[in-house]
Symmetry: C2
Subunit: 204 residues, 2 copies
């Protein structure tokens, strides 16, 4: 298809498509004449993925490029998921430099979780606990154990969805959906459940 059709079908303007190509988020079309390029379904699919990352997750163009690049380099489920999780690191700027936390170590140990020492999520968690402590509202790591158990059940649901997906591009897309795109939806579910539970207990 021509770039105009790609634009129509994706809802992304021609100027923005050209910008994504210049920024190496989207591969260029196949040249069919000096100033004429053809695009296919893979371009459309990738364009939609880019829009999801930028619009829903508010990732920067640079982070989006890193995520897509990491995912395209692997076809192994564990590696692809690892890349998707690793790429989120760039969105957790504040946590990147955090120090090792004994509390987080204790939690991971108690859950018997196999998690890399340099996982960005460790720093995010440590930073939140530290901030709460400074706030005068300490949250002991053992208070997080019931939350960690629910997180484990959620992760099992997540991984269930990747079972049977073998095509590398499908796998990469699903991994991004599960790790990055679904996060706002899960937080939204929790907020609705909080409203409901609050109404049950304290509403009139």
């Amino acid at each position: 298809m021509r770039i105009s059709e790609l634009s129509n079908r994706s809802g992304v303007s021609v100027a923005t498509i050209k910008y994504y190509i210049r920024e190496e988020l989207l591969p260029p079309g196949h040249l069919t004449a000096a100033r004429q390029a053809e695009y296919d379904e893979s371009h459309l699919r990738r364009l939609r993925l880019i829009r999801a990352l930028i619009r829903i997750r508010k990732l920067s163009v640079n982070t989006t490029r890193d995520v897509l690049r990491a995912l395209s380099e692997s076809a192994d489920t564990h590696l692809v998921l690892g890349h998707a999780l690793g790429a989120i690191r760039a969105t957790d700027d504040g946590a990147a430099g955090a120090e090792r936390s004994p509390d987080v170590d204790a939690l991971v140990e108690a859950m018997r979780w196999k998690v890399h020492d340099d996982a960005a999520a460790r720093s995010t968690l440590a930073e939140t606990l530290e901030a709460l402590r400074k706030l005068g509202l300490p949250f002991h790591w053992t208070a997080l154990l019931p939350y960690a158990r629910l997180a484990e059940e959620t992760a099992r649901l997540d991984l269930d969805q990747l079972e049977g997906v073998t095509d590398p591009l499908d796998l990469a897309e699903q991994a991004i959906v599960l790790t990055v795109v679904l996060e706002p939806a899960l937080l939204a579910l929790r907020r609705m459940a909080q409203e409901h539970e609050s109404a049950l207990r304290h509403g009139d």
Copy 2:
């Protein structure tokens, strides 16, 4: 205490404290002389809360002001939690204008949740589902049911922590911690659990 001591104890610079006072995030100190103001523990506490919202949740100064104002206007648990949840709306810019979604209605109905029609979380969820559909990776609302059940269990844990808190300022702080500050920690737990679960199933 003087502003210099408030700065030392909070770790926030004098210039930043003065900025927060000008922006009406922090009440001014009590004047004891023409150019001399006294601050107390409530200032210190509020300053820590402001830092948590701005640093951990990356809220803007304007949103932080809205959150604090909404919370200070109520002493009723359900209302305070509602205000804390409502204030997050401002951080969900993209979702604010979203239309009513039959899928979200169906989910809320199936869960028998009591959730306001104009809850920001509804829009966030609808937007995510719509984006996934456009992505060619439709996620039927029934696939979200097990996630919704886990969200409900999480919300029960959340509300358990508010039981017995009667002081209005304590209640406001706890509600902010549970709704806003804890979110990155919960996502971090899920990411660690995903890494663990992925290693269990596909690791070597």
